[in-house]
């Protein structure tokens, strides 16, 4: 093949690669590398030999990486591991909610009985009941924290899916059908689904949150 034709072919392949929307097939890279190698004809200089060796090493590296990723069974991450983790976390929220409601039922029964108690005892019971209600706020907070973790897992799921698409079917060893991704809280373009989405940070870690006193200070 004439040098000009080879250059034109390789340029065309590189242009196709540039047009890929983030999902580059490693096979395409290998094909381009092979085109370059095939174009090298005749006696090669020392520099030419080095370039040839580097290109060959690059092709080998890509194939090895693909094989190693396949061994990790990335399809299992989306098919089994992430859904299982999400289910477990959802179950935790459900279990704590159920337990909290059971506590409420018991406490409300105790509180109703205070009407039949001497005032001094009833006051002490009421204070204890109030403390229990305050403490049960944990269910709301843990629920929101777990929801944040589930959202993070969904992001990981998206990235793994993109990786699987980039490396093609040969690393998808499983024949199991893919699960549809969960509903996202953002639009496909990444824009917030609600006007105040960018302000919704959820419960903060203690060193990142401001105190009630700080909030009071903001209110002057």
């Amino acid at each position: 093949m004439a040098v000009a034709a080879v250059k034109e072919k390789i340029a065309s392949q590189l242009q196709d690669l540039q047009k890929a929307d983030g999902s580059i097939d490693p096979e395409e890279i290998v094909a381009i590398v092979e085109s370059i190698v095939d174009s090298i004809e005749g006696d090669m200089s020392a520099d030419g030999l080095k370039v040839y060796a580097d290109i060959e090493a690059l092709a080998l590296y890509i194939n090895t990486a693909r094989a190693e990723i396949a061994d990790l069974r990335p399809d299992d991450i989306n098919d089994e591991h992430l859904p299982a983790a999400t289910d477990e976390l959802t179950a935790i929220v459900g279990a704590t909610e159920q337990a909290t409601n059971t506590i409420f039922e018991a406490v409300e029964t105790i509180e109703a009985l205070t009407e039949k108690m001497p005032d001094e005892v009833a006051d002490q019971i009421s204070q204890a009941v109030t403390s229990i209600f305050e403490a049960c706020g944990f269910q709301d907070i843990t629920g929101q924290r777990i929801t944040k973790v589930v959202t993070a897992l969904q992001k990981v799921e998206e990235k793994v899916e993109a990786l699987l698409n980039a490396f093609g079917d040969d690393i998808k060893r499983s024949d199991r059908p893919k699960k549809e991704p969960e509903k996202r809280t953002t639009t496909p373009s990444g824009a917030p689904a609600r006007p105040d989405e960018d302000l919704l940070n959820g419960p903060q870690m203690p060193d990142e949150a401001i105190s009630q006193d700080d909030i009071d200070a903001l209110f002057g």
Binding site: F104, V129, D140, P195, D196, N201, Q204
Partner: protein
């Protein structure tokens, strides 16, 4: 002497039923017994337009209409714009509090909270009781 009407109708808004129950019971402990509930901003807005309430206590992060959106709607409504509105939320970043204050919130309580904090904030908004 207390000038607060302890029988005033109060609307509490939260998508977690356990939190609604906690706030209702804490309000009961403080002497407020006329309490209605809603589980998101749009349901709350409908209730506010159907019945006269003297106070709204709302969570922020709810679907489909958040507490912030509810606050904005309330402040934009000629009949509701003066309604006392307390936000009780886990959203505890400074930017959240400032945004809520700029939107016209009457006071702001961070979860988890206790009955004493609730009483203090109610007093600040309604007067001592």
């Amino acid at each position: 002497m207390s000038t607060v009407d302890m029988g005033m109708p109060i609307l509490i808004v939260d998508d977690y039923k356990t939190m609604l129950r906690i706030i209702r019971n804490l309000l009961k402990q403080l002497g407020f017994n006329n309490v209605d509930e809603a589980t998101d901003g749009s349901a709350a807005l409908q209730k506010l337009r159907d019945k006269e309430y003297h106070l709204v206590i709302s969570d922020w992060n709810m679907e489909p209409m958040s507490g912030m959106q509810l606050l904005t709607e309330v402040r934009a409504d000629t009949k509701l714009k003066e309604l006392p509105f307390i936000m009780i939320t886990a959203e505890s970043k400074t930017e959240n509090v400032i945004a809520a204050k700029e939107a016209g919130v009457s006071n702001y309580i961070v979860k988890p909270f206790n009955a004493a904090t609730l009483k203090t904030k109610l007093s600040a908004v309604l007067g001592n009781f």
